[in-house]
């Protein structure tokens, strides 16, 4: 087992900055925008993007937390409950944020969870790392780093708030 840092803190910050600019480009501004972070690390990344938008455009963008646990396809559907979103998503432009895009199953679950809360006008996906190996027809609109991996490897995103530092590690 070897752990190797492949993205350092500076590069990670820059990737989030670039994603933020791309969100503005794609949405032609920030009106009606809602950031939804997928638990756990997606939430911190969504908050970082939210802070950047605030500092750049001087508007507070809602940043929501989404727990997709109940929507996972390897769980019994009866466990499902209404997720913790107290905002009507009808007509909103949503950017779903997660740390790593892998099989696509998490995103599928997140989309289901979102749709239970209304009908957004558009949902985009922002991920810090796209490591490949999709099992569902899902792709990201905003990618921090494309990191080709072997299935046997593991990608770990560290965030300052939780892990004490910003970095991306590969475990093989």
């Amino acid at each position: 087992m070897a752990n190797k840092e492949i993205v350092d803190g500076m590069s990670m910050q820059r990737a989030l900055t670039r994603i933020t600019y791309e969100i503005i480009e794609r949405n032609k501004g920030v009106s009606n925008l809602v950031l939804v972070g997928i638990k756990t690390r997606g939430v911190y990344l969504a908050q970082r993007i939210g802070e950047r938008l605030q500092q750049l455009e001087d508007v507070a963008i809602p940043v929501l937390t989404l727990d997709i646990e109940a929507y996972r396809d390897d769980r019994e559907p009866k466990d499902r409950r209404q997720p913790q979103i107290d905002l009507n998503l009808n007509g909103k432009r949503i950017v779903l944020v997660d740390d790593v895009l892998y099989t696509g199953r998490t995103i599928r679950a997140a989309l289901d969870a979102l749709m239970d809360n209304g009908r957004p006008s558009v949902v985009n996906l922002a991920v810090l790392v796209d490591r490949g190996h999709r099992e569902l027809p899902i792709r990201a609109d905003f990618v921090g780093k494309n990191i080709p991996t072997a299935i046997s490897e593991r990608i770990k995103v560290n965030v300052r708030e939780l892990d004490g530092q910003d970095s991306v590690e590969i475990h093989s």
């Binding site: 500076m10 590069s11 910050q13 820059r14 990737a15 900055t17 670039r18 933020t20 600019y21 791309e22 503005i24 480009e25 032609k28 501004g29 950047r52 500092q55 750049l56 455009e57 990618v143």
Partner: protein, 366 residues
Amino acid sequence: MTQRYLILQDQSVYPGEAFGAPATTFGEIVFNTAMSGYQEIITNPIYHNQILMFTTPTIGAAGINHQADEAIVPTIKGVVTREIADVSTNRLQRMSLDAFLKRHNIPGIARIDTRALARHLRQTGTQKASIVDVPDDHAFDQLKAMVLPTNQVAQASTPKAYANPGRGANVIIIDLGLKNGILRNLRDYDANITVLPHDTTLEQVVNLDPDGIVLSSGPGDPHILNEQLLRLIRTVQSEIPLLGIGLGYELFALANGAELEELTFERHGMNHPIREQITGNIIFANQGNGYVINRASLKETALMVTHVDLMDHSVQGVRHRDYPAFGVQFFPDAAPGPIEATDIFAEYMEIVSARRGGSRQWLNEY
């Protein structure tokens, strides 16, 4: 040491000691407040045809070394300083500043009270100046008759396209008075660079199928550049990642409808904190500009402010809201200056790489 004189168009006379070449020259006098980096500053083409005054008390102590060249030859008209160091212990040095200036026929003048002169220039604004042997009526008549060149960019730009090959993304630089630091930084990403002259046409750019376009820094008034370049910017910015630096940034702003204001005196130095708006990070960088964006004029444009000078609150960077096109007023290439602003090249090359190999459909439409 020979006594010589620095004279200004407002009739002021500053006696000093000659160094460098014994030539008599004329030019606009500007001053730089940086404490280091005199060789990079002297060789930076943004000072084409200008007399350069340093407010730092001594220059020359590091000699001249070829790693610090920002152009093949310096094209300034003179150097004004308080003191020129005659001893250098820098292991990189190949010759003294004095010998370097002699070689390129550029006169220098030392023992000038540069702090008083800087204060004077801050009040009067940019002036024409001359370094002469005798400050008589004849010298002042000559100075008065001197006409400043308006084709600064045409003189500083390369007359012909040339390649600076790499194995990575295909990046075009439009040379408006390119400094080596920009090439050095892009080479860090192994970019395959083609440098094109300032009067390049859209067709020539499109034919090279670029992944990215960089508008270089350069000398002079951005307003005198022809409409062709502004049209080129407006056409390519929606399709190809664009980075403007210094004069290139000013043209990018003009092309998108912003207005520029001329400063009373040009501002050259590297002691102003600059805030990157999106992160709140503070950086320092080498600055050298005679114009700034009129902030109010941005309201009617698709540009947003990305960098702000915290000393005078001037706009130091803008970005297009709809396209991956942006620019900075300052020099991010760290030659001279702190390396923290070089991140701008990293950001730019990431965008270029991410979009590489995308649709080339638009190219066929020309």
